[in-house]
Amino acid sequence: MGTSRAAGRSLARRRVRLSHIDVDNRLTPPIRPGTFPRGVPARSRAVPPFAMSAFLPLADAIARLVRPGDAVALEGFTHLIPFAAGHEIIRQGVTGLTLIRMTPDLVYDQMIGCGCATKLVFSWGGNPGVGSLHRLRDAVEHQWPRPLEIEEHSHSAMAHAYAAGAAGMPSAFFRGYRGSDLPAVNPRIAFIDDPFTGEPLAVVPALRPDVTIVHAQKADRDGNVLVEGIVGVQKEAVLAARRALVTVEEVVDTVAKPGGQNAVVLPSWTIDAIAVVPGGARPSYAHGYYARDNAFYVAWDAIARDRDRFRAWIDANVHAAVAR
């Protein structure tokens, strides 16, 4: 997945490290034991291993982390969808992306309609509670604005594949796809026989995005991130990625909770950059901050049905907007 390993490396000297500005100065993905047998070599001990996340303006973070041709996952299961980051990718005109998301939702409908993507990996491509994603359908049915290759899975497969990516596994093994036609149209679904019972089990390659972007409620000043409420696959998507960007509602003193030690926390050293973007999940929602703009999800149906109306909306609401 992804063609930008070299591009990623070219960024390696530009890392600004939180509270140690320019000391660390690199941006290198963690090694992945899971890349056997075509993995990257283990990193030299001369290079310090992991770095903490850097706080960057959103435009800078996107410019540094998202490259043309990348496999990109913007995750968030209904909740905490990183719309602001998606809009910044549109503004920067990044193209050739493989977009990965369980539910493409409006954020990918917009990115696909703007021509950012050449491939979509997904498991449910609708407007939740409303109907179709018309830009996605237009791309698949009429190749507008460009052809869109699709790799289609079930939710269970994608959830397992993100977890396998986070766990450094080459693939995810699960009980799935039984009796479905999906394996016939997706060569990235295989079956093996369980070595102990003989039961056929489904296998899909682990998801390993070049970049994962998620939105969360809070980061602390050390760059640790707290996700609360419906946490979806965000943790797995971040841990599976070579590079990770988190947009957050706000920065607080600490995200550690003495009374709630089992919270979903992404440690600083699993994240490359953090951008503070209040409202960065709108029209999706941020639990404890603002509600889902259900009316916009309904209104999007009419906007997205028509190519001209869609383009006008993007011009007015994405391109005219100043990057936060």
Binding site: W124, E152, A163, E236
Partner: protein, 259 residues
Amino acid sequence: MSWSASEMMTVAAARALADDDVCFVGIGLPSAACNLARLTHAPRITLVYESGTLATKPTVLPLSIGDGELCETALTTVSVPEMFQYWLQGGRITVGFLGGAQVDRYGNLNSTVIGPYGAPKVRLPGSGGATEIATACRRTFIVMRHSPRAFVAEVDFLTSLGHGRTGRERRAMGIQTEGPVLLVSDLCTMRPHPETREFEVTSLHPGTTREQVVAQTGWPVQFAAVVEETPAPTATELETLRDLNARTAAAHGQASAAE
């Protein structure tokens, strides 16, 4: 009291749920049916949404599967991988609700494409959770509106396994769960024949004729030896459902999402 076809469907589906059921709930009519059951005859029913919310008790119906309301009223919320690993695949769900653009006589469902996969006439949303809901839940209920385009002789694409294309594949694969045991439409309820697994009409909703069902079904539909009339929605059922829909409309600032 009079009622709409949608209300009749919701009530008929709700009645099939029991207090001990653990339901994997989809948005729309299944959500309305499950919450109606919870607010009437099955107060202890456990509702699970695939966003990770376990044992939710929403006071309004969610518009999406991941509304904050579901999380706020849940016993706890787990990650989506955990939901699919420990709860769905782990065999913890008794009833899964499914629907689709097409269903065949064996309860196989298509929610992927109309036309060929590579050059679709209509690109539908796709599987979502459905493919594994269909095989991991102890049993599934199908809820769909009757029409010859929806109730088809053969699905264009088999997204979610019912009893298989000949009614025998599910058992042949050694799948231990029961599969689709109930189909509720706006005209009737159908259940699989014990031997052939072909869905046949077991009750007609009040005012519906056999001819209407035949006309709206894309295969030569069978009727059970005894076809009953679906009991009409009671006043309590209708009032509870309408209150729920009214609260939902007020909360979402629009027409009910369950319609």
